[in-house]
Symmetry: C2
DNA sequence: GCCTGTCAACCGATCGGTCGGTAGGATGGT
DNA sequence: ACCATCCTACCGACCGATCGGTTGACAGGC
């Protein structure tokens, strides 16, 4: 049941943002009474933190599968972009993009956990950039971590940009163009 | 007074997201009574649309000043990034990043206006990429519009990423690293 | 006399959250 | 086998606060 609530909450948060999701909404979605939701999550912050943690542990293996594969660095970058694109197609952008704008309505602890999740993702991305530099398939300036931050941010930004502009195809166009730009033949 | 309300609203929306800003908050901030706010904006959607429009007309000249200058393309890209960085330093990210996550709580008209604003910005950015290709200072694959979309999305994403991760310096590091990567010596 | 801006008072709805209590399944002592 | 106990999950009813929004009245300047 707890998982079912989190599923519904995740979908709604990705759709409308955290504080446009009420316990009543949740209760309706999972066919429980509102009071019962509080049995599983004592308050909204606990719900948010559970959401963040679950999001992290759900996507970490997805990233790992791409990063730890034996593909070339450019292929891995495309794979990472694909993860985000897949979520976007199902109207389910990354939680970071969904929670990011309301970051000052979250508790400090929650923000910190969100930040850790983001930093973890970026550091995984950085491994790919390092690999690309080592094997000579990627050409970029500065530290791998900075390139990874930029790439990760681009994927995040594309998610909100695409939803705002309505042009779904822009995601893969822009992401692929970027990867091409820094790939070496 | 209308402007004063919009100023306060803008700051609060950038800080916490639209639907965490109440008319009461606004009234307190501008030292009016709640009912008086409704004299200037009949409802919340009107407020949001006014915010979007003002944001567009405020930033358009800022973009134009950079795009229409006679600097080189890489310098212009740095200038554009600087606009966003300046906003970020004042805890005032772009409205697109602030409204983007709750896009499904806005009316269709508002979303459309937001989309137009975004497309307008991207198309201005694209001029710079075109210039860079023409003058041989920028090296990237695909159409200028795709590169511009990616760059703009990166700036948007960096804003939320920086606020979530707490590492303010990451913005310019990542943005500059990107520009360096696609610049030709 | 009218228009603009302001306000107090109020509205129904909904918000996050609490409370007391119930149904049912395990547990364990006798 | 029996019953008392405990625990998890759930629920109806309710709380104070706040939400977006409305109404009618009162100033002051044109």
């Amino acid at each position: 049941m707890k998982e079912k609530i989190l599923d519904a909450a995740e979908k709604m948060v990705q759709d409308r943002g955290l504080n446009a999701v009420s316990f009543q909404d949740l209760a309706n979605a999972v066919e429980l009474r509102k009071a019962s939701i509080f049995h599983h999550f004592p308050n909204k912050e606990a719900l948010a933190r559970a959401l963040i943690e679950r999001c992290g542990s759900k996507h970490r293996p997805e990233y790992a599968a791409v990063v730890d594969s034996n593909a070339s660095a450019p292929e891995k970058l495309r794979g990472l972009a694909g993860i985000f694109e897949k979520g976007l197609r199902n109207q389910r952008p990354c939680l970071l993009a969904a929670l990011g704008s309301g970051v000052n309505t979250l508790s400090e602890v929650a923000v910190q956990e969100l930040g850790e999740m983001a930093r973890g993702a970026v550091s995984r991305f950085a491994l790919v950039f390092q690999q690309g530099r080592d094997e000579g398939t990627l050409q970029f300036s500065g530290e791998p971590i900075d390139a990874a931050t930029g790439f990760f941010a681009m994927l995040q930004g594309l998610q909100v940009l695409v939803r705002a502009s309505g042009d779904t195809s822009a995601f893969s166009s822009a992401a692929n163009a970027y990867v091409d730009s820094i790939s070496l033949a």
